[in-house]
């Protein structure tokens, strides 16, 4: 009985899709040049840890077309401070560099070629310092931690419960980082205006933060900085805080020189300086009863933050909140350390520590299964959260659908039968092995920092009845604007194409949070809804008076009756607020659940693999837009697939980033998708805690790709069985072909290891 014009819950095509396919959609660097525009290029540190002895730009400044060199000397100490949460970074580093790729200065010139060439001619001399810390292992050994360690979440009496357990299992889990590889790199264009105003157009997930950073560095009030974003060519967390490292210097140059300035990083620069997902190391010790119930767990988590804190503490905390994934562990303690290393500062990446924490849980429960000689599926079902269970951070789980997703995927993937087929295949093949594996997930939705859970919207209705809408969220491909238009169209009772969202800008909605934590549509959706309700209320008397007339008539009538047709909307997620001190208060608004089953075939002789089939079931409440949500599941899943099997950042022992482009860094391509890929949404599970009963979708599906990792591990175990080797081996993520090949130990690998030693 839903009217045909009502777009909610329909697979509406992305609002910009038609512009994107013709090349008409405008991204930051597509904005036409101003006649007097200049280009900025950075001078980066080339050492990972060194004292700067001198910076000499005189040679560079002699070049024709070079206008100016900016460095720390151009700023007061206060103005030079940067960093999203803690101001422990510099706009321009001085005295001591703590990672390669740190920004020392910037050359401003007529165009990109001149600027980049001149930047190479800036002479920096260093005195190298020790130590250079690259890996987590080194950081842990040298106790190189950021202050405030360890962070602790603890529930119950872990020591006592461990001592009473029948079996104790101890092990560890190691995960590499991940480059975001948004197709559009970090970019910014800054245009100075009169009376000290400046307009900053950048590719960022967090225009408000750019605004405040720019205001501080320029020493002007925030009210004079307009930070705008039309769309991003991908963000994935990489433009939540790190977009500022480009935007601040560009804005500074524009402000000081009184001319528009632009910069878009080259891919090699972007990869070398902007940071990645956090590599993690976990240690676990769990106590289990004879029948396989998890009784107690003691976890340690370490993440590699790089040279500054950035969002690393929040990432660590989310990993600690998800350390048990979907399993009930009545006595649980998790301690976390943020490691200071000489790498570029690692930052948010879709999942935000969640996938890493859940990886520890899944590694642990499979370890338990092997030790008890039990089927992991049985063990998971035995320990899985049920309605009303309480997490280790004392949140009661309501609407617990993880079990539903799990049993539905087992059924739709025909798991039991295919598992037998896999075993049969493995008996019949020596050098090719298959594995099939299921993984559940449970992702907490909300920013773990309370005040960020707010948002705003601004709506204008024009006299012709068309609507211009804006809200705090940015569009980076996730279809947020499309969903927001759907929400507004339904709330106002008008067709989708009467509403337009042009951009996100700090002069329309102020003090916004980053478009992050998967919460974009939850937060902004409700704010948009509230703005629409205000408009509806104002039109209500007219609507009542002329019930047989249409929207256009009511709007026109309202205008002539001098009724305001512009409104703001605001929303703050209610009853949140977790306190680490007391381990109480609600950390999350609700959870997004899911489960996936994947089957792989590995080539034991080369380490190559193919994903034969994947089945995913996700609980997204009542989806606002199933096409966009399925796109998020598939896209998130494939990013997770890259994380767990293909993508490996390589650094030199001196802290140089070697992976600087798609040639060195392999992300999933067309040929890497599962041969068969089935995604379904859980039905009949509306979520009362978000707009139009929907659920957040961005990050939760990513971890499900670990089903491929564990399927590969199973296949390797089958190969090892041929050589009478145990299935208790370590497989570090990502399971690259080299790791797969060497784990499939046989006479060939032996020869290689002998040669090496």
């Amino acid at each position: 009985d839903q009217p045909a014009t009502d777009p909610i819950r329909r697979p509406q095509v992305h609002a910009s899709a038609y512009k994107q396919v013709t090349g008409e959609a405008i991204y930051c660097d597509d904005i036409p040049k101003f006649a007097n525009e200049l280009y900025l290029a950075f001078v980066y540190s080339t050492k990972a840890h060194a004292k700067i002895l001198s910076v000499d730009a005189s040679e560079a400044l002699k070049q024709e077309g070079v206008h100016r060199f900016f460095s720390a000397d151009d700023l007061t100490e206060e103005q030079n401070k940067a960093g999203p949460v803690f101001h422990d970074e510099f706009v321009f580093v001085k005295d001591v560099v703590t990672t390669q790729g740190q920004i020392i200065g910037a050359i401003v010139a007529d165009n990109q070629t001149i600027a980049q060439r001149a930047a190479c001619q800036v002479k920096v001399t260093y005195e190298e310092l020790q130590p250079v810390i690259v890996t987590l292992e080194d950081a842990i050994r040298l106790e190189s931690f950021y202050p405030g360690f360890p962070r602790i979440i603890a529930k119950g009496d872990v020591e006592k419960a461990l001592s009473e357990a029948d079996v104790i299992i101890e092990g560890d889990c190691r995960m590499g980082g991940q480059e975001h590889f948004y197709l559009e790199t970090q970019a910014c264009l800054a245009v100075p205006k009169d009376s000290d105003e400046i307009e900053v157009i950048s590719s960022t997930q967090h225009p408000t933060e750019i605004q405040h950073h720019v205001a501080q560095t320029l020493g002007i009030p925030a009210s004079k900085v307009v930070s705008r974003v039309k769309r991003l060519g991908g963000g994935f967390g990489g433009k939540e805080s790190r977009a500022a490292i480009v935007a601040i210097p560009v804005a500074l140059a524009a402000h000081r020189m009184g001319r528009p300035v632009r910069c878009m990083l080259d891919r090699d620069e972007d990869m070398a300086v902007s940071g990645t997902r956090h590599p993690f190391y976990f240690h676990y010790k769990v106590g289990v009863s004879k029948d396989g119930k998890l009784l107690a767990g003691d976890f340690r988590a370490y993440n590699n933050a790089g040279h500054s804190m950035d969002l690393s503490f929040a990432v660590l905390e989310r990993s600690m909140f998800h350390i048990q994934n979907a399993y009930r562990i009545p006595h649980l303690r998790v301690r976390g350390w943020v490691c200071r290393t000489n790498l570029p500062s690692n930052t948010a990446f879709r999942g935000f520590g969640g996938p890493q924490g859940m990886m520890a849980a899944e590694t642990m429960i499979r370890h338990v299964a092997r030790t008890l000689n039990r089927d992991y599926v049985e063990l998971i079902e035995l320990n899985m959260y049920r309605e009303g269970d309480t997490t280790h951070y004392n949140q009661q789980i309501e609407g617990c659908n993880v079990g539903k997703c799990w049993s539905e995927v087992l059924q739709s993937a025909d798991f039991a039968k295919r598992r037998e087929a896999v075993e049969k295949f493995n008996e019949e093949h020596r050098w090719r092995k298959r594995g099939i594996h299921v993984v559940p997930t449970m992702f907490g939705i909300a920013f773990t920092v309370l005040h960020l859970n707010q948002s705003g919207a601004l709506i204008h209705v024009y006299q012709d009845g068309t609507v211009l809408l804006t809200h705090g969220g940015t569009e980076m491909g996730q279809g947020l604007h499309t969903k927001m238009i759907q929400v507004a169209a339904t709330a106002l009772g008008i067709p989708f194409d009467r509403i337009h969202i042009s951009e996100t800008s700090t002069d329309k909605v102020p003090n916004t949070s980053a478009t992050a934590a998967s919460a974009g549509s939850d937060l902004n959706g409700t704010a948009v809804l509230n703005a629409c309700l205000t408009i509806r209320e104002r039109l209500e008397p007219i609507r009542k008076e002329f019930p047989d007339k249409d929207w256009n008539f009511w709007v026109s009538k309202a205008y002539f009756s001098r009724v305001s047709l512009s409104a703001t909307g605001f929303y703050a997620t209610p009853d949140l607020g977790y306190d680490f001190g007391t381990n109480s208060g609600k950390a999350f608004n609700y959870y997004t659940y899911g489960a996936a089953c994947s089957e792989v075939e590995i080539d034991c002789l080369t380490g190559d693999h193919q994903v034969i089939r994947t089945d995913v079931v996700m609980d997204l409440g009542s989806s606002i837009n199933p096409a966009i949500d399925i796109g998020q599941i598939e896209g998130g899943f494939m990013q997770g697939y890259g994380l767990f099997t293909l993508e490996e950042m390589v650094y030199s022992p001196q802290g140089q980033v070697f992976s600087r482009g798609p040639g060195m860094y392999k992300l999933p391509g067309f040929a890497d998708i599962p041969g068969e890929f089935n995604v379904s949404l859980l039905t009949g599970a509306p979520n009362p805690r978000a707009v139009y009963s929907s659920k957040a979708v961005g990050e939760p599906p990513l971890f499900l790709a670990s089903s491929i990792f564990f399927a590969i591990r199973d296949a390797i175990a089958a190969a090892r069985k041929e050589e009478k080797l145990s299935d208790d081996f370590t497989l570090v993520s990502p399971a690259t072909s080299s790791r797969i090949r060497t784990a499939c130990q046989d006479k060939f690998v032996e020869r290689f290891t002998k040669q090496q030693s």
């Binding site: 095509v13 992305h14 899709a17 090349g23 559009e184 999933p668």
Partner: protein, 170 residues
């Protein structure tokens, strides 16, 4: 003979440049000189395909016409002398009409952030120009040089499957 100007066609229009810069890539030329910004810079090393355009040339020996998808980021603009370049703007627009290659990827939800889309559109378009009813295999080969970080690829292949032999278009 250094007095011969560079001559190429871009989306059917003749471009004559009497002093082309030998260091200038086709990508920079398209974006900066001709202001055709549909073609994107994603990596500048031929790995991501965001800069894919179609180059058409006549094989002088056989007289036959060849259509190739090339990475504009690696192609010197001087290397396309005498050839015809087609960019994403050259095959359709929202103001006139979309090319089926554009329409199908959009309607199949194969464009999220949209930054890889023009490159993928041009890989598909170039394939169709040389092989009007390609096989699924040909289609996958055509995309070996294109990366997308958002969609997970499935909807793109799903949308473009409709062009293939296997789909029954033959």
């Amino acid at each position: 003979n250094c007095n011969v100007p560079l001559v190429l066609f871009v989306n059917g229009k003749k471009v004559i440049d009497s002093s082309p810069d030998p260091e200038c890539t086709l990508l920079v030329y398209l974006r900066e000189k001709l202001r055709l910004c549909g073609t994107k810079l994603g990596c500048a090393e031929g790995g991501c395909g965001a800069c894919t355009v179609m180059v058409s040339k006549v094989d002088r020996k056989t007289g036959s016409l060849h259509h190739l998808a090339v990475n504009a980021c690696l192609t010197p603009v001087c290397a396309v002398h005498g050839m015809a370049v087609t960019t994403v703007e050259g095959i359709g627009s929202t103001r006139t009409r979309l090319h089926p290659v554009q329409e199908r990827i959009a309607k199949a939800h194969g464009s999220q952030c949209g930054f890889c889309t023009p490159g993928i559109v041009m890989s598909m378009y170039s394939l169709l120009r040389s092989s009007p009813v390609p096989s699924m295999k040909e289609l996958e080969v055509a995309f070996q040089g294109n990366l997308c970080r958002c969609t997970g690829y499935r909807p793109i292949l799903e949308g473009y499957k409709t062009f293939t032999k296997e789909f029954g278009c033959a």
